[in-house]
């Protein structure tokens, strides 16, 4: 699993190992970067001698891994009620092709962070976000208006998904790409305009979550798009922005429900595992309400279970929880398909080209549309 989760679950794993003597659980601390974790997992699976039993996976990997035959369906172990306690939004992305492949550990969704000391209310539409940013920049309150993830990588696809949904568009509809729609053109034009208007720094084209947080944390920006983990960092003792930050869902067009890209992490059982029943026991423990409560209390991770979200004691400790639950309920998935990685690669590449001004928004989206159509055709996959 990625290093961050390995660190967060370390005390729990230790407790689990002490609580019984049959199963000895050891956690392999992977890299931080999602793509690097994926490379590591894939190379170990391809080499055929994977030492792992359970894999902590990003939501977009599931169909690819399942199609490659690396995962074991979970419904035979967990029964059909496995997802009953999950909060609305968290149940998405665990099943594919009629089987349950994954049980979520933490939920993750795209959030808009805003500065409560600079404005009374967060913006609701793209236009409002631009207006507030420009006003604050003109007044010299902040250097930049809005920072987000614009590097050519998965993070940019996440940025696009929620904006696209919020503009009334879709990435895929019935397996067919919809990327030359008016909504997609508007979104890409808006992102480019943010750079032209000076609301977003040009370096956004190389920004990841950590870069954006770096800029926001120094007080240089009024808004940031990031995942829930940033909340704990921004409010840690000694932070310049402690108590001055609010979270909400991403802006969207009037009349369209706001959307948040889902990015949850969950456990899957590997079909090559030699200890499947033991692994299921571990999986139950690690996704339990007790574990999730602990992870939220100590590390600020977002739970997926309804019973944890509604735990009054936890809400008292962590008042932002209901806001997170609302965002989770508004969450949208990225396309569930084995060729998602290719589709996303095309999308982030083309949007990055629009952001850097390599290509105009309209021809860019036409090109993306035709490239995506050709990919689906030539790979022979359903989108």
């Amino acid at each position: 699993m990625p290093a961050s989760f390995a660190d967060a679950t370390a005390p729990l794993v230790e407790r689990f190992n002490k609580s019984q003597s049959r199963i000895q659980l050891s956690v392999s601390r992977g890299p931080l970067d999602t793509d690097a974790v994926s490379d590591l997992a894939i190379s170990s699976l391809l080499l055929g001698s994977s030492p792992y039993d359970l894999l902590l996976m990003d939501v977009t990997w599931t169909p690819k891994y399942a199609a490659a035959g690396w995962l074991e369906p979970l419904e035979q172990w967990l029964g059909s009620g496995a997802l009953d306690d999950l909060a609305p939004g968290a149940e998405l992305g665990n099943a594919f092709d009629g089987h349950l492949w994954r049980l979520p550990l933490v939920a993750d969704m795209g959030l808009l962070y805003w500065r409560t000391d600079l404005m009374p209310e967060p913006p609701q539409t793209p236009e409002e976000l631009v207006a507030i940013s420009q006003q604050l920049q003109r007044a010299g309150k902040v250097r930049w208006g809005y920072v987000w993830q614009g590097r050519q990588y998965e993070g940019l696809s996440c940025v696009v998904v929620e904006l696209l949904q919020g503009a009334g568009g879709r990435w895929l509809d019935q397996g067919q790409p919809q990327l030359n729609s008016a909504a997609a053109r508007n979104v890409s034009r808006w992102l480019r305009d943010l750079v032209i208007l000076g609301i977003t720094p040009p370096s956004v084209a190389n920004m990841t979550e950590a870069d954006a947080l770096q800029t926001f944390e120094t007080g240089d920006a009024a808004f940031m798009r990031n995942w829930p983990y940033a909340w704990a960092e921004l409010n840690r003792p000694g932070s310049k922005l402690a108590g001055k930050v609010g979270i909400t869902t991403m802006v969207g067009a009037v009349g369209v429900p706001h959307a948040a890209t889902q990015g949850s992490w969950g456990f899957s059982l590997l079909s090559g595992s030699g200890h499947q029943s033991a692994a299921i026991e571990v999986l139950r423990f690690l996704t339990s309400a007790e574990t999730q409560t602990e992870l939220n209390r100590r590390w600020g991770y977002t739970p997926t279970r309804l019973s944890v979200f509604t735990d009054p004691a936890l809400i008292a400790e962590n008042p932002v929880l209901p806001e997170l639950q609302r965002a989770l309920a508004a969450s949208v998935l990225r396309p569930l398909t084995p060729i998602y990685a290719q589709l996303s690669d095309l999308l982030s590449r083309e949007f990055n080209a629009v952001i850097t001004g390599e290509i105009k928004a309209d021809p860019g989206m036409e090109q993306l549309q035709s490239n995506s159509e050709r990919l689906i055709l030539s790979s022979g996959a359903r989108g």
Binding site: P2, A3, S4, S28, R29, G30, P31, L32, A36, D39, L40, S43, S44, L46, L47, G48, S49, S50, P51, T208, A210, D211, L213, Q214, T218, Y229, A230, E233, K240
Partner: protein, 262 residues
């Protein structure tokens, strides 16, 4: 003047890494100040500790170097004693192999590793490494062998020394500088190799330096671990710097002896 520019160009980026590795993460973005050894402490106490990767890499490097020399010495000797025409043709093949970008091989090597159970085996990694280093090693050593006058070997032959004895007592000592520089070049190659290590090794505790560093995670999810990266650069580069300091003279004289003409 030229000297100053040269030193600045070579050392500047490295000194910046050294500086970054000693600064607290917050200080790197202009907030806070002071010096710290935290990045090093964190690397050395990680699981597995950083020293582990150094040992792995040194192991792969040494075994690959030995294997390369074991194959290249007889081959180079044979080529240097073979007639003009066949030797030229084979040398051409070897040179062509040298001009082959190694990265093109990774996909096939991945399958080899799976089918022959060579994955996650540090010694097995020596096979492709030795193969990739062979062209350069053969070219260098062949040139060195050719420098040795034939009469010397004939005299040894008359003294009744067999091939192995001739190599061991007469020829190899004479090409020692070329041997040393070849060994160093091979070792440095193994120390730096990335794509094949990336596909052949998936167990964290077996990783060699290059993929390990590319996967380094910092102390905190919130920041890009530039400090830790920088510390890893310093720790991973230090052994090489030491080697160079010790053997700089040998490398250059060895290459000269090699007089590596086609």
């Amino acid at each position: 003047m030229g000297r100053t520019v040269l030193l600045l160009w070579s050392l500047g980026p490295m000194l910046w890494q050294l500086y970054s590795s000693l600064r607290p993460t917050q200080a790197l973005t202009g907030v806070g100040s002071g010096w710290t050894l935290d990045h090093y402490r964190q690397l050395l106490s990680a699981e597995p500790p950083f020293g582990h990767y150094l040992v792995n890499t040194a192991l792969v490097g040494s075994s690959s170097t030995l294997l390369t020399l074991a194959l290249a010495i007889p081959c180079a000797y044979g080529l240097s004693r073979l007639g003009q025409r066949p030797a030229r043709q084979i040398s051409l093949v070897v040179a062509a192999a040298a001009a082959f970008p190694a990265v093109l091989l990774f996909l096939a090597l991945l399958e080899v590793a799976r089918d022959w159970q060579l994955a996650n085996n540090l010694l097995a990694l020596s096979l492709p490494y030795a193969g990739l280093c062979l062209p350069l090693a053969v070219l260098l050593l062949r040139a060195a062998f050719r420098e040795i006058p034939l009469e010397l070997e004939e005299a040894a032959l008359i003294d009744g020394l067999n091939l192995w004895q001739r190599l061991r007592w007469v020829l190899l000592p004479l090409i020692a500088p070329a041997l040393a520089s070849t060994a160093l070049l091979v070792f440095i190659f193994c120390w730096n190799e990335y794509p094949i290590a990336l596909t052949w090794l998936s167990r964290q505790e077996l990783l060699t330096l290059a993929p390990a560093i590319a996967r380094i995670a910092g102390s905190s999810v919130y920041t890009i671990p530039y400090g830790a990266f920088a510390a890893a650069t310093v720790l991973g580069g230090a052994p090489m710097i030491l080697l160079l300091l010790l053997f700089q003279r040998q490398i250059i004289s060895g290459l000269t002896q090699g007089a590596i003409k086609g």
